[in-house]
């Protein structure tokens, strides 16, 4: 009986392909969204996690301006705070659990070599930078404390900058021009890809002092990064940095802080919370679209009941009982929503896969993740919608009086 009913429903759906498709459309879109959203969020999470993790778990950042532990730093609001300096960095580097510390300033500048020209992010950093960022030098050396103290015009360039300015020729010991200043190339960075959302291959590293005085005309630094000797010492180190900076900046209470200290680990934890919240929020929105899709199905099924009154009358006349008719319509709606769900799952997976390919093409590591949970959730939703929105039309059909139904024109 059930098999015959399923066959019958499939036949009915096949006879009106266009209408069946339109009926399913709401479900298809909703389920596609469920699959795509869960996949994109998982992919984005992997991307961000990878970016932060590539900085290393023992990295601690010091940003100018106060912020509570979860809020955005002052720089986001466009406020420039000038109290954080390279002397602070030097003091931080001397703290017990700190291996190395580096100041950072940055600017996007045009880089010239003879007639060749390119644009890159110019970083003014401390000589400790390679220890902080785990950067390797393939050719030449990184600059030293002497270069920093002497404000030397020396530069270490990323592989992409080298490629664009010099092609196949040797870049070492050549002079490039940034903002009318000549810089002598003393090293080439190993290829690294993006780290912390910065394309490390398209950068030029120069001594912090040179960048501050000769390029930017400032005394403060953009931010400071410090490497802690062990993950277990991170909370202690963070407190020590805060204590040190308050002392150096003559700050008495926490409320007056003109800096904030963040550990990469905290960022990862915060990220997890944010993505989970985002996921639930988006799925809540998708549920609404599925609800609308379900109402669409109910609408069509009600129309189908009216259209098939004569057929229902005949079925009842030849012996169909109420539950036979209920089953017939219910199975039909469940098949509609289930077929819609399967199409939605396929489209969702295809779109998620496409997204991962595109993002990977852009040079970011983006995992293609389809969770079993999202597929089971979709199937469950589809079944529930079919049942919920099929029941009313099915009961309406089953209650028809066979005599009136047969007479209906």
């Amino acid at each position: 009986m059930i098999i015959a009913t399923i066959k019958l429903s499939l036949n009915n759906l096949r006879k009106q392909k266009m209408r069946s498709f339109l009926t399913m459309l709401g479900i298809i879109i909703g389920i596609t969204a469920v699959i795509l959203i869960t996949s994109v969020i998982a992919g984005a999470e992997s991307l961000i996690t990878n970016q932060f993790s590539s900085l290393g778990p023992t990295l601690v950042g010091v940003l100018p301006g106060a912020s509570d532990d979860d809020g955005p730093p002052a720089a986001v609001m466009g406020i420039v705070i000038t109290t954080l300096t390279d002397d602070d960095t030097a003091a931080i580097a001397k703290l017990p659990h700190i291996i190395a510390a580096s100041s950072y300033v940055s600017a996007i500048e045009a880089i010239n070599f003879e007639s060749q020209k390119t644009t890159a992010t110019v970083y003014g950093v401390s000589p400790d930078f390679p220890a902080i960022s785990d950067t390797k030098i393939t050719n030449g050396n990184f600059f030293t404390d002497d270069d920093k103290n002497g404000m030397s015009n020396v530069a270490v360039i990323g592989s992409q900058v080298r490629e664009e300015l010099f092609g196949e020729t040797d870049a070492l010991n050549q002079d490039i021009k940034i903002k009318q200043e000549k810089f002598h190339i003393i090293g080439i960075l190993a290829e690294q890809g993006t780290v912390g959302f910065v394309n490390m291959d398209n950068t030029v590293m120069i001594p912090i002092s040179t960048a501050q005085k000769k390029l930017l005309g400032i005394d403060h630094v953009g931010f400071v990064r410090a490497r802690v000797d062990d993950e277990a010492n991170i909370p202690g180190a963070v407190e020590e940095i805060k204590y040190l900076l308050r002392d150096r900046h003559n700050i008495r209470t926490e409320a007056e802080d003109d800096f904030s200290v963040r550990a990469v680990q905290d960022a990862l934890t915060a990220l997890g919370t944010i993505t989970r919240a985002l996921q639930f929020f988006l799925i809540a929105i998708v549920s609404i679209s599925l609800l609308v899709g379900g109402i669409g199905i109910m609408n069509i099924m009600l129309a189908a009941v009216t259209e098939r009154i004569k057929e229902i009358g005949l079925r009842k006349a030849v012996g169909a009982q109420r539950n036979h008719i209920v089953n017939q319509f219910l199975i039909e709606t469940i098949i509609i929503s289930f077929t819609g769900a399967i199409i939605g799952i396929i489209i969702g997976i295809a779109l998620a896969y496409l997204t991962s390919i595109i993002v990977n093409q852009l040079g970011y590591q983006w995992d293609f993740v389809i969770t079993l949970f999202s597929i089971l959730l979709s199937c469950f939703f589809a079944f529930l919608i079919g049942l919920l929105f099929g029941l009313y039309p099915a009961r309406k059909a089953a209650r028809l009086d066979p005599i009136e139904a047969l007479r209906y024109e």
Binding site: K316, A317, V318, G319, Q321, R322, P402
Partner: protein, 240 residues
């Protein structure tokens, strides 16, 4: 025991406080193997009577006993079951499932019966052979002529081997040649022992039966055996 026993049957329809007496008085028995025509003009109550006999409706008062079951004691599902395996319906407008094959149309009552699925094919084939449509079994219902459609409907009525075939104006939508074929099939079925009741307003059609119950204004006013019964031979047309 007669197959059908009807006593003082009444049916009153209530529509927004207006009562209509569709059936005022009917008392008769029908034995197994009879061929009865219920005849009368429209509004005479013959359709109401047919609905009650066919377990599509229940009487307001009086008694209708079919095969020993009192219809008023049956639930909706029991009525459906009775319609399924004890009565075969043939309608004036055929009522086949559109865009569905002859085979599937004939099979329809079996879907709601207790007949095991393994027997379905044989039963459907036998019923289709009984109405001479074996060459059309795979045709879709909309590819058939009117007469063929009605033969499919008769095959469908036969498929569950019911005790009674109930035909409502079976030739009403047909030309006289097709109508003749249908009456011949019904007479042949009756000759082989099937009990048949047809409802018609045409005297000529009614005279193919062995007995006529005449209805007027909701009452069964005459009940008589047909003396010069019309019997159909192959190819004979119906006199309309």
């Amino acid at each position: 025991m007669p197959l059908i026993s009807i006593k003082n049957l009444q049916k009153i329809y209530k529509n927004e406080d207006v009562e209509t007496m569709a059936l005022a008085q009917a008392t008769f028995d029908i034995e197994k193997g009879e061929f009865v025509a219920i005849m009368g003009p429209s509004g005479s109550g013959k359709s109401t009577l047919m609905h009650i006999i066919g377990f599509l409706d229940k009487p307001t008062s009086g008694s209708y006993i079919f095969n020993g079951q009192e219809s008023r004691e049956l639930t909706d599902d029991q009525m459906a079951e009775a319609r399924n395996n004890q009565i075969g319906f043939v309608f004036q407008s055929f009522n086949l499932l559109p865009r569905t094959s002859v085979f599937e149309n004939v099979k329809l009552p079996l879907l709601y019966s207790r007949v095991p699925a393994a027997e379905h094919k044989q039963r459907v084939t036998n019923a289709i052979i009984a109405v001479g449509l074996e060459h059309r079994a795979d045709y879709l219902s909309n590819q058939l002529s009117g007469g063929e459609k009605q033969r499919v409907a008769i095959a469908r009525a036969l498929v569950n081997d019911p005790d009674l075939i109930l035909a409502d104006e079976p030739t009403g939508n047909l030309d006289s040649k097709s109508g003749g074929q249908i009456m011949k099939i019904l007479q042949d079925l009756n000759d082989r022992g099937k009990t048949i009741i047809i409802v018609t307003h045409e005297k000529d059609t009614a005279e193919h039966a062995r007995r006529i119950i005449q209805m007027k204004d909701g009452e069964a006013i005459r009940d008589f055996n047909v003396e010069n019964r019309r019997t159909m031979r192959d190819g004979e047309t119906l006199n309309k």
